[in-house]
Amino acid sequence: MIFIVSFLVIAMLAAAISAYFFKDLLSAVIASYMVSLIAAVLFYLLQAPDVAIAEASIGAALVTAVFVIAIRRTRRHEE
């Protein structure tokens, strides 16, 4: 259990840091989506299923969609 949780936390940190460094904004959005998805799994493992459902549906699905639509209407690459 502790190994799974620590692996997930490390993966989450890596995704968060890469979301900061990506110049391609679409990749950055996918990296922040990874953060939300791993957070949802962590909430479930830590026995908070209510929050896990909210995080998976809002953080992972809807926010990512809104970001992708925003990128489509503006520029894809950071200058």
């Binding site: 299923p49 209510d50 896990a52 459902i53 909210a54 549906s57 809002i58 699905a61 809807l62 969609a65 809104v66 639509i69 489509r72 209407r73």
Partner: protein
């Protein structure tokens, strides 16, 4: 120079946090209200899900505030997007038959799952906000898979959103007249524990929240997809 000032400020903030946390014993429960919820929650509200009993029974006024914030955010987004000039229609490739058929096939099941989540909010994990978000993601799938083929009925969504808000407030106002005479008190019979018709006003309020959140988020997606 600015960096040095920043570091000094950070040190002062860290010192303040250390000072204020020194007297707090770690590892012991400091919150008495949490014990009350865990020990008495089931008995007082009749809801099997303690999170729900806190969100919709003990702290239902906060939930009304949250719903209002979401409503204002949706209205603000609509006002911002309504003023932008619509672009010319871009050349969009039509989705393949497999994709659009798959989306149409999955759509009612996702809607059903969202409805299940908020109807069973007092028994199983989840509730109005989660179920509403899942329903909105079903509409998002429909917009992505069947691009510009179908649109949400604008009038229907406004009616369901308004009805959700009205039911929430009216049930709260009925609570002023009966029961313990405060806003949003649980005046209805508790029913048999762990069945669908139990926990008084909690399932009704969660169904109202589910309709309201689902239609608000769906309308946000509708407005965004329309402009792009």
């Amino acid at each position: 120079m600015r960096k040095i000032i920043g570091i000094i400020l950070l040190i002062i903030i860290a010192w303040g946090i250390i000072i204020s946390l020194q007297n707090v014993p770690f590892g012991t429960s400091r919150s008495e209200v949490a014990d009350r919820y865990i020990n008495k929650g089931v008995e007082e509200t009749g809801a099997a899900n303690i999170v729900t009993s806190v969100v919709v029974n003990y702290r239902s006024l906060d939930t009304l505030g949250e719903v209002t914030i979401l409503f204002l955010a949706a209205i603000g987004l609509g006002a911002v997007l309504a003023t932008t000039i619509r672009k010319e229609d871009r050349d969009t490739e039509k989705a393949s038959l497999i994709l659009s058929t798959g989306c149409k096939f999955l759509f009612p099941f996702i809607l059903l799952f969202g409805a299940y989540i908020f109807i069973h909010g007092h028994l199983t994990p989840g509730g109005g906000f989660q179920g509403g978000a899942i329903i909105a993601s079903a509409f998002l799938l429909m917009y992505l898979g069947c691009h510009n083929e179908k649109r949400i009925n604008e009038t229907g969504i406004i009616i369901s959103e308004s009805l959700g808000g009205l039911v929430f407030v009216i049930i709260g106002l009925i609570g002023l007249a009966v029961g313990t005479h405060h806003f949003l008190n649980n005046f209805m019979p508790k029913g048999e524990f762990n069945t669908l018709l139990s926990a008084g006003i909690i399932p009704i309020i969660y169904i109202a929240i589910g309709f309201k959140v689902g239609s608000e988020l769906s309308r946000i997606i509708d407005q965004l997809m329309e402009e792009s």
